[in-house]
Amino acid sequence: MAQQRKALWEADLDEDLQDVDLSLAIGSYGQNGLYDDVQPRIDETTLLAVQQQVAQQQAFAQIPDVVKRFIAHFHQAVLDNNLVEITVAYESGWNRLTEKYYSKTEWPEAEVIAPLVNDDQIFLILYRELYYRHVYSRLNPDIDDRFHSYENSCELFNYLLNSDGPVPLELPEQWLWDIIDEFIYQFQSFCVWRSKVKSKTDEEIALLAEGSQVWSSYSVLNVLYSLIQKSKINEHLVALQQGKSPEEIAEIVGEYGTRPLYKLLGYFSIIGLLRVHSLLGDFTLALKVMENVELNQKSPFTRVTACHVTTYYYVGFCYIMLRRYTDAIRAFVSILNFILRMRQYHTRSYQYDQINKTADRMYALFAICNALSPTRVDDNISNIVKERYGEQFAKMSRGEEGIPAFEELFLYACPKFITANPPPYEDADLLPAYIEDPPVEPAQRHLQLFLAEVRAQAPVPTLRSFLKLYTSLDASKLANFLDADEEDMVQQLMVMKQASRSVSRVDEKGLLDGQWISTSDLDFVINENMVHIAESTVGRRYAGWFIRNTEHAQRVLDTLRNAPLPIPPKAAGAAKPAEAAASSTATARTGGKQVAWGSAKAA
């Protein structure tokens, strides 16, 4: 019976696979003299191949037609380097079909859909990039997914970096960002998963022991640095700052750097490095790699909002770990205001959710910074912080008893730290010891270091509240009020002085540079035993508010002025020109058929 089935499907078999399996099976079993086994064995291997084939065909048959059409269309868009259509397929089509058909299962495997795209290897790599991203975000990636997504990333970067010259591929900015973002997310996810030894099966342990290079820190850094070097992005950024002309810049960055694909991948890789170094606890290096990036939104290098949000989140966090709370506050205020202003433009839910989550963590970090370095700051943002974290903020402003609140917010808002090295999977002797006595989790280590700093500053809020009441005061009297030893209290005053000073960027270029500035409105000095206090009051600021609202009013007026006069409802679809255009060209290509994923109603 099996024989029959084999004959039936033989024509469809992949020839290489069939040859290899047959000869191998015959060879080994013939020598063993287990002649009886040969026939069934052949059948078994063949059967396996056949079954696989059948399974693939069945899987193929099960793909809904609309998905097949989508993939074929997507493939064509990539072949044509048609950014508009790729964007529609990527941002709208993929997500819509995911919701409809694949919200709880994987997309069809790349091998299954290969016939739809003429076995185009490059497209299949891109397809797998989306396939695995979907697995990571919606499902539970198993060890095979984790290994294979790594291999696929390697293939993608290998294609981009080691082809003969720059590759003729164009992808939307958002997708390029997502490629780097996802690459690092999967690395981080792998490291966290890898560090949990207890839940691993024997098979997983064996695979992890073997594949110690998979998702290694070096391999990840290597990709990011290669993209940076290939695109000459640092040279590009420096040239921009020097005001070089586009022609001069083209000369400097060469054949790779002039292409948007490489230029953006290079830029995103710098942000990627910032993130990887932060995750590994190297906050200094994280800021150092950002040397040439200018943090302002006046001339953004990219329009990808998620990239800005990531950049400021990690920069702000690194500043906290460098105890530069004012710089952290500045970073958070700037991006949080940006997010507030951008809010109306974010309709794509998958990004919007992510951005909102990060924003919320930044409000928490802002509360931490403001408790440690109380300064007059942006009212807009402080009001939101009061709403969300008012309770924790009040506790944190009370010194020692606020430590649990610091801990809570830090753990909630810190990056998902990782360790650089795997547990000793390859060493059967060490592994049990490791399980017995697991190392402290990285987030806990960084938390403890941070809390040590908080504890050192713990007496400051109380001292501050007393000093605020006086213009001068005898040290022994102050010690009496505080029920403290005078010498101890004087030492605490020195701590307070140090806490009111900080390195901060004033007009320096690099993120690590800065000047020693005063960050507090309350200052004091000790003359032998007399404490003299001076307070600075900051008048209320109006300009920013008025400027922002004037600009807003101007925009509203412009929109009104430019709006067409009321016209018949038929042409109302033109309100979304990009998508409308996309759907009309798509329609033309597929011979007048309606393209479900590209309709103007997509959003």
Partner: protein, 260 residues
Amino acid sequence: MATITAGNWASPPTRPPLIETLVSGVDRYNPSNVGILEDYLYHQIRSQEYDCLANLAILKLYQFNPDLYNPDVVINILIKALTSAPFPDFSLCISLLDERPPSASGSGAGANPDEPDPLPQLLPVLSTLHALLQQCRFPRFWALYRSDEVEALRDNYTVECVGFEDAVRDVAVRAVKAAFTSISSERLGSYLDLSGDDLTAYVEKLGWSIDASTGVVSIPPNPDNQIESTVVQENIQLPQLVKVITHAAQTSLPVVPAVN
């Protein structure tokens, strides 16, 4: 020890070009460069120089290549970082020490069954010393530092670090200078662990003056010990308004027709 200022922390003027290349480029990841950076650390130990970023680069290499790990180097890095308080260098270094149980795994070329890794013993001591400096508890720092508990650290490490005690005094001097306009010599002496002629000489070297009759040390004015009550008023600059004005000029129609 060269004074640490905010401006040159990231790139101290004493840093040689070779180290600059390593610190700023991708070669910092190359394990075969660890020797160069370690030599540079020992140069810092001998010559009272300090380069935090170069030392962090060593710890980075150890983080990625646990077999390079050398506890003596780590301890020396921490000793150097200790005296940069109130800057966070010490914590930044600790952040990079991956939570590998150094003794249990016994990994690393330097591991030797006869010579147990000294770091697990010394790390808590160093952390306590650091916490005391961070909290400006200078008298307690000196008491602990001179105690038997810290003997191993003193005899094997800080004795080799040229100018270590003066570097600690620098930490205290920075704190005092910012908070005081004058301070009794007993108090200052307890912070610096100096008394009598040693203290007088030290104070003079700093350029501070000591009143022989009262024993009060005056600290010259500096930006941190000069206080002043101020009211900061908002000061709007034209550039802030450029966008609004330009836009208005471009789009507004004259409300009143120009009169000839």
